[in-house]
Each structure stands twice: as C-alpha cells, then as structure tokens.
Amino acid sequence: MHNPPMLLPRRARLAAVAAVLSLFAVGCGGAYEPRPMDSHWSFISATIMEPSCATVNCHSAISQRSAVDLHDPASGYKSLVGGLFVIPYHAEQSSLTNVWLTNAAPLRMPPDNPLPDVDVQIITDWINAGAPNN
C-alpha cells in the first residue's frame, strides 16, 4: 500500500522559506567613517580582538601564543603595547598592523579568518592616535 508523502502545513512551509530568505537579506551597511567609539581600546578589544584572536590555541588566556594574551582589554593592552607589538603614533612601525597583511607576515593573522580592511583601518587609526588605553 502506498503511503502519501508527509508534508508540512502550509504556514510552516511559508515560515521556513521566509527564514531561509532572511539569511541572505542582511549584510549591507554604509562606507566606513571614523566614529567616536572606534578610538577606544575597550571597543576595539571587545568587538575585534577578542572574538577574532583570543581563540583556544592562539591568544586566549590559557595559551598566550607569542606571549600575547588578548582575552580581555587589560591583558590585551599589556601584551600589545607593553610587548612592543604596538608603537604608539606609528602604525607603520608596529608589527601588529603588519601581521594582517599577506606580504608582511609569515602567516597572515588570524590564520583561519582574515580581518576585513575596515577592522584593520580602525586599529591603525587607534595606533596613530597614540594607542590610548581608554
């Protein structure tokens, strides 16, 4: 005996299609213009450095590769500025900015997910502003 195929209710199917489409419907913002919050290390640390760099076997508190711990703003500032990876007012001399560029580093960082230009620019501007611990 042939069983009819089981189907989802119509409303459920529409909801599923809408949910799928929403996955593609976002993602376009405006061009980058420096914002007040971009000049704060606490903002850079929480939105860029910690999610991108403080992963388990890299710059997390329990691994600290190359003696760099980026798991929170205080540790990150101490590692980068205290460790001379950042030279305040001189982004071009700071090794931190070089590790994001293909031809300037042995392995471009982060070695799994490259940082977008906008994030690199925000950090470059922060260094050139004196890398304040704010």
Binding site: M6, E50, A67, L107, P111, P114, P116, D117
Partner: protein
C-alpha cells in the same frame, strides 16, 4: 578474542592519555529516522557520549554495519556505567595568506574520554576529559602554555543531572554548553564561533528543561569558570555570565523550528542574541536542509558611556545521503561583525563528505573557502582543506 580485548584496552588507555569536546551530528536528526537528539546522546540537548540506542543506530542506520557497542561488543560495562572515547587525526592544508603560506600539517586533533555513572533511574554523573589538539608546534615563548601533556589536559564537560526519564523534565548543574543553536562536530562554523559556543567555550551552568516527543525547551543560567580554577578547567572566549533559552518544535518527524535567545554580560560589555534554527528532511530526495540565523546586539562600555554594534551570523546548508554510510554536504555561512559598515561581512562556502565504513569509524573530507568584501590590502580570501580520520570506542 583476548588479543582483541587487549588491543581495545590499549587504544582506550592511549585515548585517555590524550582529549577535546562534546561533538554532535545535527545532520542525523530526521535523516536517521530519529527525531530527538537525546535519543542517541545522554545529554538532553544532544552531543557527547552516545546511548545504547545511539550505538545501535551507528551500526544499523548511519554506517555500513558492524557492532556499534562499546569496545565493539567485546566487553559490556555494568548497566550503571557508560563509557566512550573519541580520537581524531587530521591532515590540513590552510592558506589565509602570509609569505610562508600555505600551511601543511598533520596532527592529533582530538582525544576525549567520557564516563557516565547512573545512580538509580534518574540521577547521573557525567565526566569528560582529554587533551587539547593543536595544529601548530608548541610555542616556546614565555606565554606558551602548551608544552607538556599536563598543560594540554582539559575537562570541558562534567555535570550532575536529574532526569525524570527519556522524556520529561530534567535539571543539571555543572560544566557543558548551554543548549543553543546548531552544534556541529567541526567548531569553525561562524554560528558557533561568534555566538559564544566556540570550542572550549563551555561555561558552568544551572540548566533545566523539558523534552517531549515533538518539542523541547531548555533554560540555562551560566557563568565562566572562576579565575582561581586551574587552566584545565578554564573556558576560552569572552567571559560572560548570563542566560540562554532554546525551544524546539518538531513537525511530522521531518522538520523542526527552533527559537533561541541569549544574554551574556561582563564588566566590559553585554551581548544580546536572538535567532532561529530550522531543519527540513526531504525523504524522496534523501536531503536534509538545515540553517541558523542569529542577530546580536553588542553593547560595550566606552569611557563613561557605552556604544553598540549590531551583528549577524548565519548558516545555511544541505546534506545529501545517497547511500547508507555516506553523507555529502554543502553550506554557505555569513558573519557580519558590524551591520552599519559595509566590508565587514565574512562569507564561507563549505563542502563536506563523511564516510562511515562501519560503526566506530569515520573518514571526513572538508573544504572551505572564505571571502569578504573588496580589500585594498590583499586578496581577501582564505582556503582550507582537511582530511580526518575519526574513531570512537
């Protein structure tokens, strides 16, 4: 027989000397004929040590055959004990740029051992431990803390649970992932990495919920391990305390919709997350479609005030099961770290083929290509290919 037992025990001891994470295969929901994740896993939300049902399914449905029981059925633990272990070896090609790229590596990726002790019908203790895998050589810097086996030991899951039965209410306390979102074996997917559920992000939780045949609800309060705890019990990622809720409704044994929310906060920032998960099993096509999307509002303390960004992360994939023991999947991922800025979106295209020649064994090929907006600096891409051998005891 004695020789086989000796080999199996030796393998087990080797694995105990190594370790990793609680893994799950969300692709098996519906496609294997099983609708609840907790049918195959002791964890009420899925992942980690598998049940006797899960072991049977691994042989009869998922792989090409064999005996899925612990130690291939050579020895059966007492009914109040369940044991297991996972080991993964991987070969990797990775190219994200740099003048030494691409990287080639072969490394032990995971070695975990699990034990679950039942005290009567409703109370159990779950313990997991192992060694952190690492793609790169040990770091000799003063900060490098992965130089000895003891440095690498970690226990990500250990909890005490009361559970009314296979379905019904439960309550547990300890360390584990709060139920939330898709929980793939590979931790690199954006929906895990950027929502607080990357590898070793497990928190200490008080969690409760209810699991029925066609719906389930999980509510969790979480906090990071105290800083006084040794590294072996520490978690990785942003140290937040907060709560998470996940609810799932299943339809006709072939589809589900999950809704979820999470709030995590610390002295520097607060993240508000909300999202949805969906799966549809298309039996005639042997195809499972699955997806997740999450919006995040991250509010950071800046000076004497605060500033926020809106973020979005998603996964959309399809997995095809052409014959028993084989599954092939493709997926598209997107993570935008700031929705107000163009060029902050990261995209990934994934291809994955898993072959299960018999129970206990898996071969995996995984390819990933990542790309984002036009870059003035460099080619804005990264590629990765991995071959993996997986054995579980």
């Amino acid at each position: 027989m004695r020789r086989l037992l000796f080999c199996a025990l030796a393998a087990g001891l080797f694995i105990l000397g190594f370790a990793g994470r609680a893994a799950a295969y969300p692709q098996f929901q519906f496609s294997s004929g099983t609708t609840r994740c907790s049918q195959c896993h002791f964890d009420p939300a899925g992942g980690g040590l598998i049940t006797a049902w899960g072991r049977d399914e691994s042989a009869d449905t998922i792989s090409r055959g064999g005996d899925g029981a612990f130690l291939h059925g050579v020895w059966t633990p007492p009914s109040w004990v369940a044991l297991g272990a996972d080991v993964r070896l991987a070969g990797l090609y990775n190219n994200a740029g740099g003048y030494l790229a691409p990287e080639w590596d072969f490394f032990p990726m995971q070695a975990d051992a699990y034990a679950r002790f039942a005290f009567g019908e409703q109370v159990s203790l779950y313990l997991e431990g192992g060694i952190r895998g690492d793609t790169r050589p040990p770091d000799s810097s003063v900060g490098g803390q992965l130089s000895t086996l003891g440095d690498r030991f970690i226990s990500t899951d250990h909890y005490l649970m009361w559970r009314a039965g296979a379905t019904g209410a439960y309550l547990r306390i300890g360390r584990f992932y709060a139920p939330y979102g898709l929980r793939f074996v590979e931790h690199i997917f954006y929906v895990q990495r950027y929502t607080g559920f990357d590898i070793y992000n497990q928190t200490y939780n008080l969690s409760g919920g209810y699991v029925s045949e066609d719906w389930e609800l999980h509510v969790t309060a979480f906090t990071p391990p105290p800083t006084s705890f040794p590294d072996q019990l520490q978690s990785v990622g942003q140290r937040e305390s907060g709560g998470a809720v996940y609810g799932e409704k299943r339809f006709n044994g072939m589809a589900m919709v999950g809704l979820q929310a999470r709030i995590g906060t610390n002295s520097e920032m607060t993240r508000y997350q909300g999202g949805a998960v969906g799966k549809v099993w298309l039996e005639p096509a042997k195809l499972l479609l699955l997806g997740e999307g999450d919006f995040t509002r991250q509010v950071v303390t800046v000076g004497s005030g605060s500033a926020g960004v809106n973020q979005f992360v998603s996964y959309l994939g399809g997995t095809f099961f052409p014959v028993r023991g084989l599954m092939a999947g493709v997926a598209y991922e997107r993570y935008q770290s700031d929705l107000s800025l163009s060029g902050t979106g990261l995209n990934a295209a994934d291809v994955e083929v898993n072959y299960f020649p018999s129970a206990h064994f898996e071969l995996l090929a995984f390819g990933r290509y990542q790309f984002f907006g036009p870059s003035a600096n460099d080619p804005a891409t990264a590629s990765m290919f991995m071959l993996q051998f997986h054995y579980y005891l």
